[in-house]
C-alpha cells in the first residue's frame, strides 16, 4: 500500500476511528485500526466488538493498494504532531512508514487478517429507511444528553428509536427527566423499535458533517447500521443494540398541565444559569415562583450565599405556582434546543414540568422537593 493523504482529512478520520477503539485492551491488536487502499479509495476501519466503523478519507492519491493494521493511538499522535499539508503512508510487510517533509516514522503493525472486520451496510435489508443528516443530528442532540449513566432496572443507557411510518421518534431518560424528539424519515418498514447505546450515537453525531447528506438506517443480526452519504466519502457505523426493557415513557408524559408560559430560550437559560451559581451538591434545587407577570428564581447554598433572579413574563396562563428543579436539567435541555422560543407547562409542585418546542420536542422533568 502506498498513498499520499491530505493530513487534515486523515486527522479527522483517525480521530473518529479512534473514538471507537477501546482504550485499554487485553491484546495490542485490539487497539488497532485497519487502513485500506482499494479502488481508488482510502478507508479507515475500527471496532471494539460492540461498535464498528468505517470512514472514507477524502483527498487521497492511491499509488498502490493494500491494507495496514496499526495501533490507533500511535498513528494518530504522529499524524497530528506533523505540520505538513500532506503525508505519505507506505506499507512494507507489516510496518507502516509515515513520511513527511522532514521526518520518517516506522510503526510496527499486525497481520490484517487479525482484524475482526466491520459490518457492511446491508443494502438489501427491507427495514432500511433514510433521513437527512440534519434530522438525525437533531434527534441525537435533543435526546442523547438525557440518557442514564447506569441503571439496573431499565435499558435507559441508550436512546429508544421508534419508527412509525414516516415518523421517527427518539426517546431518552435517566429516570428523572425524559426527552422525546421527532423527525421525518422515508421508506423502510411500517414499525420499528430498537434501543441504540449512547456511545455510538455520540460518535455518529460527530461523523455527520454535511447536513444535507442522506443517512440510511437498517437493522440486521441485532445490530443497527448507519450509512452516511454514499460513495468515496461514505461512512458506516454499526452497533449492537441495547437489550432490555425501556420504561413506560408514554405514561409519564403529562396530559393535563394547566399552567402555561412561553419563554425566549436564551432569556430563561441565562436566568437559570445565574440562579444555579448559588447551588451546591447538598442544596441543588432552584425555586421558581411563577405568577401572572413574573417568574422569580431563587437559590440558596448553605454557607455560600443566595441568589434571586427576576424574569418578566409576557403572558402566564393559570394559577401561581412555586416549584423547584435541578437547574442542570433545565440548562442541558435549553442548550440543545435550537429554537428561539420554548413553552413551559406545569401542574403542581410535586408533578413533572414539561418543556416543548412545537410538536417536535417534548421534555419532561420531575421537580425537586425544596426545603
Amino acid at each position: 500500500m502506498k498513498v499520499v493523504c491530505d493530513r487534515a482529512a486523515l486527522v479527522e478520520a483517525l480521530a473518529l476511528a479512534g473514538s471507537v477503539v477501546p482504550t485499554r485492551t487485553t491484546a495490542p491488536v485490539l487497539g488497532c485500526i485497519a487502513i485500506t487502499a482499494a479502488d481508488g479509495m482510502l478507508t479507515v476501519a475500527a471496532t471494539n466488538a460492540e461498535v464498528g466503523l468505517t470512514i472514507g478519507v477524502p483527498q487521497v492519491d492511491i499509488q498502490k493498494d493494500g491494507t495496514s493494521l496499526v495501533p490507533s493511538d500511535k498513528l494518530t499522535q504522529i499524524v497530528r504532531a506533523c505540520e505538513d499539508t500532506t503525508l505519505t503512508l507506505e506499507l512494507e510487510k507489516s510496518i507502516l512508514h509515515v513520511h513527511s517533509e522532514d521526518a520518517h516514522f516506522k510503526i510496527f503493525g499486525f497481520d490484517p487478517k487479525e482484524f475482526p472486520g466491520v459490518k457492511e451496510f446491508p443494502e438489501k435489508a427491507s427495514n432500511c429507511f433514510t433521513c437527512s443528516a440534519k434530522v438525525l443530528r437533531r434527534l441525537i442532540s435533543r435526546t442523547l444528553f438525557a440518557t442514564a449513566v447506569e441503571n439496573s432496572r431499565f435499558a435507559i443507557s441508550g436512546v429508544l428509536a421508534e419508527k412509525r411510518g414516516k415518523r421517527l421518534r427518539f426517546v431518552a431518560t435517566d429516570g428523572r427527566r425524559l426527552a422525546v424528539a421527532i423527525g421525518d424519515v422515508q421508506g423502510g418498514a411500517e414499525e420499528e423499535t430498537f434501543i441504540i447505546p449512547a456511545k455510538p450515537l455520540q460518535v455518529l453525531n460527530k461523523m455527520v458533517d454535511d447536513p444535507d447528506a442522506m443517512v440510511s438506517i437498517a437493522q440486521e443480526d441485532s445490530q443497527a447500521v448507519f450509512r452516511i452519504g454514499e460513495g468515496a466519502d461514505a461512512a458506516v457505523l454499526s452497533t449492537n443494540l441495547v437489550e432490555g426493557q425501556f420504561p413506560p415513557f408514554e405514561d409519564v408524559i403529562p396530559k393535563d398541565q394547566d399552567k402555561k408560559v412561553c419563554f425566549e430560550s436564551a432569556e430563561l437559560g441565562s436566568a437559570v444559569r445565574r440562579a444555579a451559581l448559588l447551588t451546591n451538591e447538598e442544596s441543588k434545587g432552584v425555586r421558581m415562583a411563577f405568577s401572572e407577570k413574573k417568574l422569580l428564581l431563587s437559590s440558596r447554598a448553605p454557607e455560600m450565599g443566595e441568589a434571586e433572579i427576576q424574569v418578566d413574563l409576557k403572558s402566564y396562563q393559570g394559577d401561581p405556582i412555586e416549584i423547584g428543579f435541578n437547574p442542570a436539567y433545565l440548562t442541558e435541555a435549553l442548550r440543545v434546543v435550537d429554537a428561539p422560543e420554548i413553552e413551559i407547562e406545569l401542574k403542581a409542585p410535586n408533578k413533572p414540568g414539561v418543556m416543548k418546542v412545537g410538536a417536535d420536542f417534548t421534555y419532561v422533568v420531575m421537580p425537586v422537593n425544596l426545603t
Binding site: V149, E150, N151, R153, F154, T173, G175, R176, R177, L178, P247, P248, V252, E281, E282, S283, K284, G285, P302, G324, N326, N350, P352, V364, M366, P367, V368, N369, L370, T371
Partner: protein, 391 residues
C-alpha cells in the same frame, strides 16, 4: 424576660402518619385510620385520634387494633410522602431558629432562646409555628413551651391533640408536682411498681425524696429523676441537620473473628445511621465502612452510590459489600467496626418512574422509625441485627 433562661419548644405533629393519610384522602377524615402493616404480623405505625378513642395505639399488632376498632380503615404507609412533609415541617421550624433537633419524623425540639428578641416570646413563636403548620402543610402540631427539653416534652403531651401548653420558670416545680411518675422519662412499666412500693407516685413525691436515698434504692442513674422532677434539665438542643456526615462505630473489648457477628453489628449500626439520616431530612450519596483490625491498623472503605438514598436496605447492601470486599482481600479479627454516610442531598429529586422495591423499603423504614420513636432504640430490628444477650 429573664435573659439567662432558655426557651425550648417541643413540637409534636398530632398522629402524624394518620394525619397525612387523612390530609391526602378526604374520605379518611373523621374516620378511624390505622397506618401500618396489614398482614398477619402487621403492626400499627400510627393510629388516628378517631381510632385512639377505641384504644388503638402505635406498635400494637394490627390484628389487636382491629379487634378494638373493627371499623378502622387500614392503609399501608407511604414513607416518601411522610419524609417530604417532615422535611417541610422541619424547614418551618428552622425558619424560627437554627437549633432544631428532630427526634423523629414528626417531633423536634427547637431552642428559640436566641430568637426571642427578634421574634417574640415562646408563646408567640409557638402560635406562629402552629399557624404555619396548619396553613402550609394542612397538619396540626401540639407544642410545649418550657425552660428546658424535659418539661417542654411533657408540656406538649399534656393536652394533645391541637394543644399549646406553656410552663414558666416561676413555680415550675409546684406545677409539675401533681404529675404521676408514669410521665417521667426512664420510669417504665417494669420499674413503676418498685417506685409505688416506695411510696413514690407523683413528681411531688420524687421532689421530696433525698437524692442519695433514691440512688441507693434505685441505682445511680435514678439521681437524674430527682432533678427532672423539679423541672431541671440542662441538655442542649443539638442540631444534626447541618452535619456533613453521620456515623456510628463500636469498639470491642476483644477482637471478633466471627464474620457473621461482625455483619450483624454492622447492620445494627447501618440501621441507626439510616434513621438519623432520615431524621436529618437528607439523602446520602456515599457510604463508608471503617474497620480496625490486627495491631490497630484502621482502614476505611467508601462507595459512592449512583443516586442518593435514605433507605436502610440500600445503605446496608453497600455497607455489607464493602465489608465483604475487605474480608475477601485478607480477613483479620476485628476490633472496631463502624459505618458512616456523607455526600448529603437535601433537595430531594423526584423520579418519573415508580420503583416498587424502593417504595416498599421506604414503608418499612417509616414504620420502624415510628416504633423506635415511641419505644426507643432497639425495640424493633431486622432479625439479623438482634444481638446475642440483648433484649
Amino acid at each position: 424576660m429573664n435573659e439567662t433562661q432558655r426557651t425550648i419548644l417541643h413540637c409534636d405533629l398530632d398522629a402524624f402518619f394518620a394525619s397525612v393519610e387523612q390530609l391526602d384522602d378526604p374520605e379518611l377524615r373523621g374516620r378511624p385510620v390505622l397506618v401500618g402493616g396489614t398482614g398477619a404480623r402487621g403492626v400499627v405505625a400510627a393510629a388516628s385520634y378517631e381510632a385512639r378513642v377505641f384504644g388503638c395505639r402505635s406498635a400494637m399488632p394490627t390484628a389487636r387494633a382491629l379487634r378494638l376498632c373493627p371499623d378502622a380503615i387500614c392503609v399501608p404507609g407511604r414513607g416518601a410522602r411522610y419524609s417530604e412533609l417532615s422535611r417541610r415541617f422541619m424547614a418551618i421550624l428552622e425558619s424560627f431558629s437554627p437549633l432544631v433537633q428532630p427526634l423523629s419524623l414528626d417531633e423536634a425540639f427547637v431552642d428559640v432562646t436566641g430568637s426571642r428578641r427578634l421574634l417574640g416570646e415562646g408563646r408567640v413563636i409557638a402560635e406562629e409555628i402552629r399557624r404555619r403548620t396548619r396553613e402550609e402543610l394542612g397538619l396540626v402540631v401540639s407544642i410545649g413551651v418550657a425552660p428546658n427539653k424535659f418539661v417542654a416534652k411533657i408540656a406538649s403531651d399534656l393536652e394533645k391533640p391541637d394543644a399549646l401548653v406553656i410552663f414558666e420558670e416561676a413555680g415550675l416545680a409546684s406545677r409539675l408536682a401533681s404529675l404521676p411518675i408514669e410521665r417521667m422519662w426512664g420510669i417504665g412499666p417494669r420499674s413503676l411498681p418498685r417506685f409505688h412500693a416506695a411510696g413514690i407516685r407523683s413528681f411531688g413525691d420524687l421532689q421530696q425524696v433525698d437524692p442519695d436515698r433514691l440512688a441507693s434504692r434505685f441505682g445511680e442513674s435514678s439521681r437524674r429523676f430527682h432533678d427532672l422532677s423539679h423541672g431541671r434539665d440542662d441538655r442542649s438542643v443539638v442540631s444534626e441537620r447541618t452535619a456533613k456526615s453521620i456515623g456510628q462505630e463500636r469498639t470491642f473489648a476483644e477482637n471478633i473473628a466471627d464474620r457473621d457477628s461482625i455483619e450483624s453489628i454492622l447492620l445494627g449500626e447501618v440501621e441507626q445511621v439510616s434513621e438519623r439520616l432520615r431524621r436529618s431530612g437528607a439523602r446520602a450519596r456515599t457510604v463508608t465502612v471503617k474497620i480496625r483490625f490486627g495491631d490497630f491498623e484502621t482502614i476505611s472503605r467508601s462507595r459512592t452510590l449512583p443516586e442518593p438514598t435514605d433507605l436502610t436496605m440500600r445503605l446496608w447492601e453497600h455497607a455489607r459489600d464493602l465489608f465483604r470486599e475487605w474480608a475477601r482481600s485478607g480477613f483479620q479479627s476485628v476490633r472496631l467496626i463502624g459505618c458512616s454516610v456523607s455526600g448529603f442531598d437535601r433537595d430531594t429529586q423526584e423520579s418519573l418512574f415508580e420503583d416498587p422495591e424502593a417504595r416498599r423499603a421506604g414503608r418499612v423504614d417509616a414504620v420502624t422509625d415510628a416504633i423506635h420513636a415511641r419505644f426507643g432504640g432497639r425495640s424493633i430490628s431486622r432479625a439479623r441485627a438482634v444481638r446475642r444477650g440483648e433484649r
